[in-house]
Each structure stands twice: as C-alpha cells, then as structure tokens.
C-alpha cells in the first residue's frame, strides 16, 4: 500500500528553516521560483522549508511513536541524532563484529532500529550498504497562485545584559540587536509513504521481520505522520516563532501501488488528483481519497486514511 499526502498550511511570521548567518542577521531559506505574471514567466525568490527539515521532524515523531508501541529504536536515533549507521563506529553499536555480507548488515540495522528501517540509511564503509527511505517529502514551497505575496522580512530583536559600570569591560554592550528573517506564505508540500517497503529488505525484497512486527512498524510510521501534522511540530525556532496559522488543507490518497497526489502548490490539485485516481480505478486499482478543505479538519482525513489501511490489513 502507498500513501501520499498533499498538505497546505498557512504560516505567518515563521522562522521554520533558517540557513546561514551574516553577522547579526540570520537568514530564512529561500529558493528561486518560477511564477507567471501578465502572461510571462519570471523568477522570484520565495521563503521555503527544505525536505530535510521536514524529514527530520517526521523521524523525531517516529522515534516517539515507535517507542510508544514498544518497537526498537537505536541509541543514536533515540537522541534524535540520525547518523543512520553511517560508519563502523555507529554500526558497531548495533552489531559487533560487523558482518561481511551487505544483506546481513541490512538485517542487523533494520532489526534494531525502526527509524533506519523507515527512513533508510547509508553505511559508507566496505561493503557499502544503502537502504532508500520508505518515506519521501518535498520542500514546502509557497502556493503558486499567491507566491508573489509571500514575504521574507527581517524582524529586529534585542538581547539585554545586566551590567553595572564596574563589570563593563572594553566596549561590551549592554544590549545587542539582531535580526531574524521571518517568512510568511501559504505553503504546500507532499509527503509519501511506501508501506510495502517497511521491514522488507532493499537488497532481496524479502521480509526481514515477521508480519506482526511489520504491521506495528507501519502503524508507528502512520501515527508519526498524523502527530507531525496535527501538532505542527516541524521546523526550527518554534519556541519564539511558532508560525501563526495552521494547516488549511489536506488531501490523502491511499493506493495499492505508488501514486503521488498532485502537488498542493497548484490550486486545482484536488480535482486533478481525483481525475488521475479515476483513471487508475479504470485500470482495476482500488483507492481511497480523503480530503479536508473546509468542513472536515485535517485529522479527520488522516484518520479516514488510517481506518482504510487498517481495513485493508496494512496494519
């Protein structure tokens, strides 16, 4: 089974994905974007959130959900440090001595960590072993039709230090001003989850775990997505720049084989996804398409998808 979610969320004055700093100025991630204006295409720079940032948040939720269901999570991932068995030092914590056969290495990693099972890994030693992530996530980008209204603007802040004249040394300042570039936009991103890849070897395509554990891991993966979207716990600087707004729309497609919803950066993404699914249905594929646009809240659409997957025996 394959799950694909299109998410639209409004975020005002957010600092969800900051990049480098230049002196006292910390910049928001920005990307070039092609928009149409007066019938002509032009490039504009818009605030964005990287897929890496969203993926990190998802895996943090996955850690918590997996532990809650009594599933194994390795020590590195428990600390939300996703080294993913990148070298001998990290792999030895899971299996020691390290096997010579790549298949045995994959089995050892998948058995001992749900995050590396679902999120993939790259063991970059000899022999190298790679496992693709079972989930995929796009950058979050402003919705096309309103991209020109997106802004990234620096906000001035000050930090104060209490000091009297005797403790003041040199030119130490009693206050320091700094700027945080905040983004404001209606964002859209896509999240896909290949449930068939969980607990299954990327090398042999054979199950590594027993069916019950695979099902529980699938449930953890779905719960993590639910929690991430429902709690809006993704991105950086939430402590002082928690975005003002929230999820405005969600479209969830569950199919038997890989199918990705039309990107929510397009205004007609729901209608187009529905049409595309109808064609699939004509080819004999069952699906569920749940949408939360106005009356329905996002959690209802996500739950509908989870109920459908449970009925289908996915978990």
């Amino acid at each position: 089974m394959f799950l694909s979610v299109g998410v639209r969320f409004e975020a005002n004055v957010e600092a969800l994905n900051m990049v480098e700093t230049a002196g006292n100025y910390s910049k928001h991630r920005r990307v070039p974007y092609l928009v149409e204006e007066d019938g002509r295409l032009k490039t504009v720079y818009v605030p964005a959130l990287s897929g890496e940032s969203l993926a990190h948040a998802y895996q943090e939720h996955l850690v918590r959900e997996a532990l809650g269901l009594g599933l194994p999570v390795c020590d590195d991932c428990r600390r939300d440090e996703f080294y993913k068995s990148m070298n001998k030092v990290h792999l030895k914590k899971k299996v020691n001595p390290i096997p010579d056969d790549p298949r045995d290495i994959e089995i050892a990693i998948v058995r001992s960590c749900v995050v590396e099972d679902v999120g993939g890994f790259l063991y970059a030693e000899k022999p190298p072993v790679r496992r693709s992530s079972a989930f995929q996530v796009s950058y979050a980008l402003p919705v096309k039709s309103v991209a020109l209204f997106a802004t990234s603007e620096p906000q001035l802040h000050a930090r104060h230090a209490q000091m009297d004249s005797s403790s003041k040394k040199g030119n130490a300042s009693e206050q320091m001003i700094y700027y945080v570039e905040t983004g404001t936009a209606l964002y859209g991103f896509t999240f896909n989850l290949d449930l068939d890849a969980i607990g299954v070897s990327a090398i042999t395509s054979e199950p590594i775990l027993d069916e019950d554990e695979i099902k529980t891991r699938r449930e953890a993966a779905l719960r993590a997505l639910f929690r991430m979207l429902s709690s809006a716990q993704f991105g950086a600087k939430l402590s002082r720049f928690f975005p003002v707004g929230g999820i405005t729309e969600v479209a969830v497609a569950v199919t038997e084989h890989p199918f990705v919803v039309t990107s929510p950066i397009y205004d007609d993404y729901i209608a187009r996804t529905e049409r595309r699914l109808k064609v699939l249905e004509g080819l004999g594929e069952n699906y569920l398409f749940a949408v939360a646009t106005g009356e329905k809240v996002p959690e209802e659409a996500l739950k509908e998808a989870m109920d459908y997957l449970r009925e289908q025996g996915a978990f």
Binding site: E20, A22, G23, N24, Y25, K27, R30, P32, K42, T43, V44, Y45
Partner: protein, 115 residues
Amino acid sequence: MSEYEGIVKMLRFFVQMKNFGYVDRIGNALNPEPVEVTLHEALRAFRSVRESAPVDESGRRYVEKDGKKIPVPGIPTEEEIKAFLDDVRSDIGVAKRVATLALAYPSKNESGGDE
C-alpha cells in the same frame, strides 16, 4: 575581467573561507536573477565579516581560518556592481567568468583591505 576585480576578490575571499555557496550560485546561474540575489547576499555577509575583522600591524584587515591569516579585501564599489549586473543582464556568461576567476589562484599576492 579586470573591471570586476573587486567582485572577484570578494568571491575569492569566500572561497578561501571554504564558503563556496556564493561563487557556485553565481557561476551556475542560468539567468540574471540568481546572480543579483546572490550578490546581494554575498555583499551583506561580506560587510558583516569585514566590519568585525581585526586589523594587523600593517593596517590590513584579516580573519583567521585554520590557523591561517586570510586578508579581507575591500568592498566592491557601487559602479563596479552596477556595471557587473548590467553586463550580466545582457550576457549571463559574464557571471560564470567572474566565478571561475574567483576559483583560480590570483596571479600575484593579494594584500588585504583597502587601507
């Protein structure tokens, strides 16, 4: 390309600092907008670095990186930036040439600063 020496020196400074972001974005730009945005960001960062850089006994600004003193060149002039951006608007290849020069070794030892 000597007319854009100030920009080349600034980009070369970032290369020496192992910050290849600006030179890559300018060198790989397919249209003028990314060059304009990147140059703006590079100048913003460069001003911050330059203004907080210490001055050595000969009056030149420098920053230390991996135990080495890297001289901080002067800020490119307004005229140079304007001419460069105008040139890039008519020929995007100019941006690639400037970025390429910034990646090359300078033909003579560059001294830091404009003091």
